[in-house]
């Protein structure tokens, strides 16, 4: 029922050239090389027609770089060697008790 309300133009657009929802998902896959040949072409055409998605891709890529650096900065300092060996010894003795 609801389908009929969607204009033909929009149905063709989303069927062949993807919806924005799908396109933005494919951008994430593409960043890791996880995208099919056809999907890649569809995404290319979608971005050509949809300025918002083209902009979103720029922003999500920037976000990738910012996120990576942010997380590295925040990553806690690892254990010191003596703390590490104490913890390891403790865990092994717990296993031995079993």
């Amino acid at each position: 029922m609801h389908r009929k309300k969607i204009p033909l133009k929009v149905r063709i657009m989303t069927g062949i050239f993807l919806s924005c929802k799908k396109a933005t998902e494919l951008m994430e896959r593409k960043a890791e090389g996880n995208i099919g040949f056809i999907e890649n072409i569809q995404l290319f055409w979608h971005k050509g027609m949809c300025k918002v998605c083209a902009l979103y891709e720029k922003q999500t890529r920037l976000l990738n770089r910012l996120l990576q650096k942010h997380l590295l900065q925040r990553k806690a300092a690892p254990l010191s060697e003596s703390e590490s060996s104490t913890l390891r010894a403790k865990i092994i003795s717990e296993i031995e008790k079993k």
Partner: protein, 189 residues
Amino acid sequence: MNYNEKAILSDWVHQFTNELFAWALYKTGSKENAEDLVQDTFLSAFSAFDTFTGQSSPKTWLFRILNNKIVDSYRRSKKIPLELVEDAAKERFDKNFNAETGMWNEFEAGQIWSVEEKHLLDDPKFQNILAVCLDNLPLKWNIALTSKYLSEKKSEEICKELDLTASNYWQIIHRAKLLLRQCIEKKYR
């Protein structure tokens, strides 16, 4: 047999404790909790040793146990069920798109996107906002996203650690990134 298992486990303790600890500390923010979680992880691994099939590497298997422990401990400490948090986040995500066509409903591009990348990296205000927005994500999404960008692990490995299918994983990354973008956009004014 039992002796053999203990020897293998001890070997893993020596190999992986530091990495597991660093991750647990990062996720919980407390050394004490992180130590407990790592110890629990190895004890669970010992009890469940029979179920380790060798299909994934020991490290992946241990990280999977640890991630489950992190989720469990989070579940115990929070009053709001994790499922509700996730449902609310899904709803916020869905509002971005027309339910029938999947086209953008509205899309704001505020001033943050015209700020230079270098400036954002050094800006404590922005780093703070990013931290808050990451914490606003449902825990599982947060773990998936931070695993992806912090450890440079391949998606297949993260899926195994979090017990997700590939399509589930990409859906989570997609939703998490979109909500993160939106959150930053709203807060950075």
